[in-house]
């Protein structure tokens, strides 16, 4: 209960900051050369100034910036993100259509990165200085230094073009009309490469942190106490070291949630996945600032949610949290 309260309190504390930041962003976007209407007109192949004027009035773009900001924030509070000029639909609808793909991609990548990173990190720490450690650490460094989009492209070259094992892009086989399990398998096949691509750099980070964290924990006094009790090495790792070493990892997941979302922009573009990241890219290219702002808002909510969950998990793992440290 205390943990939930603490997490909720942190949640509550992050919301006002978020609104301030969004207000800042909104004003920033006022500085942008050209607005949505310009973009629309350009897309329609030009048009007369009268139409543009009318459209501006329709979107409320003729009002002073402060009034626009007020209107915008008020609508945000009601979760009304406005109208997407390019897609001709409410931004909320457009985002809702794209969100599941991104959530699926992030969830799969996070799971892979976390489990893989934990396992490899523990393995490397156990064999420190020996070949498994050297191999794992070297691979970790390489993964960390590889640009994800390049890794994705090379994956496409190898697995889609040369070997033909996996599809080169997209979320599902268009027009195949799969249902049920076949559909699930189809989506899964499409997500293998994107998931690997997005997960790799995080896996590298997690394994480095886990290795360092394990080494640190294994040198602590209470591990020596466990040894003095006659506990074997495996027992020490499972019962004493692992849970303690996981604490920094859990913190890291919260800190990197935003980075991961940013990474999905690139990965979704590489694999032509119809997700939030690709939507962000499209709205930048097409100057659909309303949609871009909406995406930023939703992303921030997503990151805040992840951090809320992380707080809860951390509180469960570490009894000291409830005591207020």
């Amino acid at each position: 209960m205390t943990i939930l309260l603490l997490a909720l309190r942190r949640l509550a504390a992050s919301l006002p900051t978020l609104l301030v930041i969004l207000a800042g962003l909104f004003l920033l976007l006022q500085l942008a050369p050209g607005d949505t209407v310009d973009a629309l007109m350009a897309q329609m192949g030009g048009g007369d100034p009268a139409t543009a004027e009318e459209l501006r009035r329709y979107y409320g773009l003729d009002l002073p910036a402060a009034a626009q900001l007020g209107r915008y924030l008020w609508r945000l509070v009601q979760l009304d993100l406005g109208q997407s000029a390019i897609y001709g639909k409410p931004v909320a609808t457009v985002i809702a259509e794209r969100l599941p793909v991104t959530l699926l991609l992030m969830g799969a990548s996070l799971t892979l990165a976390f489990l893989g990173g934990t396992f490899l990190g523990v393995l490397a720490a156990r064999r420190i200085g020996q070949w498994p450690d050297t191999l794992i650490s070297t691979l970790g460094l390489m993964f960390y230094a590889t640009p994800s989009f390049w890794f994705g492209l090379m994956g496409i070259v190898l697995f889609a073009i040369h070997l033909g094992w996996l599809p080169a892009g997209g979320f599902e086989e268009v027009g195949a009309g799969y249902t049920g399990l076949a559909h699930v398998l189809d989506v899964a096949r499409h997500l293998v490469l994107p998931t690997l691509t997005l997960a790799l750099v995080f896996l590298a980070t997690y394994l480095r942190i886990m290795r360092a964290s394990m080494l640190e924990v294994m040198s602590l006094d209470y591990v020596r106490t466990a040894r003095a009790k006659g506990l074997g090495e495996t027992g020490i790792i499972v019962r004493h070291a692992l849970r303690n070493a996981l604490l920094p990892m859990v913190t890291l997941v919260g800190l990197q949630a935003g980075t991961m979302l940013g990474g999905s922009v690139v990965v979704e573009s590489v694999f032509a996945l119809p997700g939030l990241g690709r939507l962000a890219y499209e709205s930048v290219v097409q100057r659909d600032l309303n949609t871009l702002l909406g995406i930023v808002f939703v992303s921030a909510l997503l990151v805040i949610t992840v951090n809320f969950l992380v707080d809860l998990i951390y509180g469960r793992l570490d009894p000291r949290i409830a005591a207020g440290r």
Partner: protein, 283 residues
């Protein structure tokens, strides 16, 4: 000096230094070896590497020399990485030092702002900044610096939080030293090593961010950037995959070099963090 000797004894760190020097040499020699515009037409498009000695790494779909783009791209990557890192570290140290030293309300406000920046996905924020201010190389560099400062700020703050309660800082206060002097002359030099080490991470990320931006065609199209080249190679990925592959290797090597140097510095500056805890030396 002891740190330098420890660094030299670490093979991975030495490899990093060698690779980094190599990349710097490539960047410096670019105008000498490839004096012409790297984005100009150099020959028949899509020549494979190691076929035509005049364009030994081949040409891309527009007939531009890949080797020239790689060499000039090294300049861009290093420059953007360096300047963005300096911006991020400078902001980070300023914010972190003030927040960590004063705590209380100042800390609260500064940390809220930092958290807010961390809540917004940095690449998305970068997209917004580029969308608003355009994508010439200066803007991109400053924008990357602006989205990268929260982590160094948190690190600096953490260092300041522990150091400011150390007895040597209290001793300076008791001597009657002013806050500004304590921050700049007493705490900062002791807080700096981990931040400097972290700068290598910031630089690696900055190079990756720029290349991702360029890959999406959102960076400056008028400079030879590795990311641009990878993006340009996408269209011919099916057959001429080397156009995308070669600049990717360049990025990998550069980021790897920066990371290895950073890790080597870390191990050299904090020797006790390597491996299991050492024996308590009998005094």
């Amino acid at each position: 000096m002891a740190a330098l000797r420890r660094y030299a004894r670490n093979p991975a760190a030495l490899l990093g230094a060698v690779l980094l020097l190599l990349v710097i040499a490539v960047a410096l020699s670019a105008p000498l070896l490839f004096p012409k515009d790297p984005l100009g037409l150099a020959g028949r498009p899509l020549q494979w590497p190691f076929v035509n000695p005049k364009v030994w790494l081949g040409t891309d779909a527009s007939g531009r020399d890949i080797a020239a783009q790689i060499f000039h791209g090294a300049r861009v990557s290093l420059l953007i990485g360096l300047v963005a890192t300096v911006i991020a570290i400078a902001i980070g140290i300023a914010v972190g030092a003030v927040a960590g030293f004063y705590s209380g309300l100042v800390d609260d406000v500064l940390m809220r702002v930092t958290e807010a920046f961390q809540t917004l996905p940095n690449f998305l924020l970068l997209l917004v900044l580029v969308a608003v201010f355009g994508s010439d190389i200066t803007t991109v560099t400053v924008a990357i610096g602006l989205v990268s400062w929260p982590a160094p700020a948190r690190l600096t703050r953490a260092e300041f939080l522990t150091l400011r309660n150390r007895e040597f800082v209290q001793a300076c206060r008791v001597l009657g030293m002013g806050d500004a002097r304590i921050i700049a002359r007493e705490i900062l030099p002791n807080a700096l090593p981990p931040v400097i080490v972290y700068a290598s991470v910031v630089m690696a990320v900055a190079i990756l961010l720029e290349s991702a931006l360029a890959f999406l065609n959102l960076s400056d199209p008028n400079v030879a950037s590795w990311g641009n080249l990878i993006g340009a190679g996408r269209g011919v990925l099916r057959t001429q995959w080397y156009v995308s592959a070669i600049p990717g290797v360049a990025i990998l090597v550069t980021v790897l070099a920066v990371s290895l140097v950073g890790q080597g510095l870390n191990d050299a500056l904090n020797p006790r963090l390597r491996g299991p805890a050492p024996v308590k030396a009998p005094a």
